[in-house]
């Protein structure tokens, strides 16, 4: 009977609390926004990837401990998907509890968070100098003349390619500087013939390759307003789809379906190249036996587009301050570290191998580092140079929603549907989703 009573007691407590719920709600919500106590002696940061973002935070934390020893920085590691879920749940509950002070958010998702939760983020416009950062990072992270994020890593892309395979196929890597995708595919055919290896991986659920291709031509899934789908009659997108189909039809692309298979494909030498963001470097390097056999070329541009450049972007994230108690402290922390410290970015390169988007750091010696794994190439310096050419596009709100639509239509296209119908249907479906 004792247990019974305990259970009943517990229930009663919960019920009481739940009844108090509606009344307490209003009061709760306002505490977040009034910010009566804007400064705090400890702040909490959420980020993913211990080898990269978390490592960067540790450096910043150490540095800040010297500037302001009174503030304790708590770093909390979660997987990226987990952060997205936790933020969405916490923010939509609107109570301000269960949220961190600072969160790392991918640039593709930035507008979605900023617009879906007005007043949930604290503007950082006064906490850093806009000119200090690459311009392609500023637009996606700003809303209505306010900058809401401290720009962090770059998603600048490169073409990681096996020099030994290239040589076997009769190419000298030094000659391959400003390729377009047609030339790249041509090389792929030769490599396949000479070595039997496929050129790259293709994942039917991840159209990152399409995104990278169209961004070389300054094109995106949306119009410049960041809201109107731009799929039908988008010549760049059409070209990217056709290239993708060639890769699949000629079996130059090895089909994969998840991250571990992706890593395995290049770590085991099954594919000759990896066209992707610079953050893949540690994963490529993971297979030590391939040291000296890799180089990074400029990203192939989209053929047929006049203004296409040999630079693109995939991913990249920035730091956001949530509009909860301690926001001033959090903003100060970011301002003093990621917002203005050249030393931090230098250390980031030497210790972590991560490239920021803070321009004044580009003159530092760390950028000139020669990387033995990549045959002595100064990859950081190269990436930094390419990142200056990345065409700026407005990611807008719906990157992943539209990408799902495109992934479905891509399957139809691969199965023989006409490309113009494919894009027209995608346009219709995207419009239906977004209103």
């Amino acid at each position: 009977m004792k247990k019974y009573l305990v259970a009943a007691g517990l229930t009663a407590t919960v019920l009481l609390a739940a009844c108090g719920n509606d009344g307490a709600n209003g009061a709760e919500e306002s505490t977040g926004n009034e910010g009566g106590d804007a400064s705090a002696d400890s702040i909490e940061v959420w980020a993913w990837d211990p080898n990269f973002n978390i490592a960067a935070l540790e450096i910043a934390k150490e540095e800040y401990a010297e500037i302001n020893p009174d503030v304790e920085v708590m770093i909390n590691e979660f997987a990226q998907d987990d952060i997205i879920q936790k933020l969405n749940t916490g923010l939509s509950a609107g109570t301000g509890s269960g949220l961190p002070n600072i969160a790392l958010i991918e640039d593709y998702r930035a507008q979605s968070f900023l617009q879906a939760y007005p007043d949930a983020f604290f503007p950082l416009t006064d906490f850093f100098n806009e000119e200090d950062f690459a311009s392609y990072k500023i637009a996606p992270t700003s809303l209505e003349d306010e900058h809401y994020a401290m720009p962090f890593d770059t998603g600048v892309t490169g073409l990681y390619i096996r020099t030994d395979y290239l040589e076997e196929a009769g190419y000298d890597p030094a000659d391959l500087q400003d390729l377009d995708w047609n030339e790249y595919i041509e090389i792929g055919r030769d490599i396949k013939e000479a070595t039997g290896k496929q050129l790259l991986t293709v994942d039917p659920n991840d159209l990152g390759q399409i995104r990278m291709m169209i961004q070389t031509a300054g094109s995106w899934y949306l119009e410049e307003d960041g809201a109107t789908p731009n799929l039908e009659n988008n010549e760049d997108l059409k070209m990217a789809f056709e290239i993708y189909k060639t890769l699949v039809d000629e079996e130059l692309g090895k089909p994969i379906s998840d991250w571990s298979q992706y890593l395995a494909a290049f770590n085991s030498g099954e594919v000759a190249s990896v066209p992707t963001g610079n953050w893949i470097t540690p994963s490529v390097r993971a297979e030590e036996s391939q040291s000296g056999n890799w180089t990074v070329l400029p990203f192939p541009k989209l053929p047929g587009a006049d203004d296409a450049v040999n630079a693109s972007n995939l991913g990249g994230s920035s730091w956001y301050v949530l509009n909860v108690d301690g926001k001033e402290t959090a903003a100060e922390f970011l301002s003093e570290t990621f917002g203005s410290s050249e030393a931090l970015y230098e250390e980031l390169i030497t210790e972590v191998g991560a490239l920021g988007t803070y321009l004044p750091a580009a003159s530092s010696d760390a950028y000139q580092l020669e990387d033995e794994f990549f045959g002595g190439q100064q990859i950081i310096s190269d990436f930094a140079e390419w990142s200056e050419q990345i065409p700026q596009v407005n990611f807008g709100l719906h990157t992943y929603s539209i990408e799902d639509v495109l992934a479905v239509e891509m399957q139809n296209y691969l199965n023989g549907k006409d490309i113009d119908d494919v894009l027209a249907d995608a346009q219709k479906e995207a419009e239906a989703r977004l209103n």
């Binding site: 998907d81 879906a116 929603s401 479905v408």
Partner: protein, 291 residues
């Protein structure tokens, strides 16, 4: 107080704690979610839209794809799994069988295993150059490898294999526990009457287990209609939504895309309606007489 009213009251006392807790932690949020299903917008910018979300549901090709996939899983997978689980548990209930504990544990193991690992391994097994294809090619059953993960049809088959693999042992538990409650003497009597093993399975085991068969069928139906984990981890809903389920669509609407919690709630209620429909059907088919 008469005996009868006292008895009725005691009955309510037994139920009260559970009923109150479920009301607080399920029905209250469900009610909130129902209210939400009449609103639409990004994140917290919600507007009352009446039945617009429900109208959108019927012209939403992604929802219709998810619905079709989910119902296919349900119709193919649940009967197969229930049948397997029944057969296996009857075999494992045999007194003369040695190593029963080990067999049971082995067959139960898949549903304990963390999804993260099992999906990674499943993907190796069923990769185009994975062990399964190798085995099928070497034995001459196949001429060309099957694209389990990237072909729309085979990806569905793979999901069905995966859920059957994972949940058969789970259903086995319920049958094993229920089989203990059948009086052994009934079987002995049947044997004397000349019934063989198959006949006593059909004539005794199945009817005796009816309440539990009904239970597992409904639980599996609910589980399949809310299927999320396997699809999310093995195929991610792809290729091109070929394996997408309703639950994964809800997840996408809430977290993957710009969140629209209103429409996500509407899709959730579509699942409720489906489950209610199938459950009533099953209650009717199996019957739920109290004797």
């Amino acid at each position: 107080m008469s005996y009868k009213t006292k008895n009725a009251l005691t009955g309510w006392m037994f139920i009260a704690v559970a009923a109150i807790l479920i009301t607080v932690f399920y029905f209250y949020p469900m009610f909130q979610s129902l209210l939400l299903s009449f609103q639409s917008g990004a994140g917290t910018n919600l507007e009352f839209v009446g039945f617009a979300n429900y109208v959108r549901l019927f012209s939403d090709p992604t929802f219709l794809t998810a619905l079709t996939n989910t119902v296919i899983y349900l119709l193919v997978q649940v009967p197969v799994m229930i049948f397997f689980a029944l057969i296996i548990s009857v075999m494992l209930n045999n007194d003369k069988l040695k190593f029963r504990g080990w067999f049971r544990t082995a067959i139960f193991l898949p549903c304990v295993t963390s999804l993260v690992a099992y999906s990674v391994i499943f993907k190796y097994l069923f990769a185009s150059d994975g062990l399964v294809n190798m085995a099928l090619l070497n034995t001459g059953i196949l001429q060309a490898p099957i694209q389990w993960l990237t072909d729309p049809f085979w990806a569905k088959v793979l999901i069905i294999i995966a859920i059957t693999w994972r949940w058969t042992g789970y259903n086995m538990i319920f049958y094993l526990s229920a089989l203990q409650n059948i009086d052994k003497s009934i079987y002995e009597a049947a044997k004397i009457d000349g019934a063989n093993a198959f006949q006593s399975f059909i004539k005794i085991t199945i009817p005796m287990l009816k309440p539990i068969i009904l239970f597992t069928t409904i639980i599996s139906t609910i589980g399949t209609l809310q299927l999320f984990d396997e699809v999310m981890n093995i195929t991610g809903g792809g290729p091109g939504n070929a394996t997408l389920t309703i639950s994964q669509y809800i997840y996408n609407l809430s977290f993957e895309y710009t969140p629209n919690f209103g429409y996500a709630a509407t899709v959730s209620y579509a699942i409720v309606v489906l489950i209610v429909f199938f459950s009533i059907l099953q209650f009717k088919l199996v019957g739920d007489k109290n004797d």
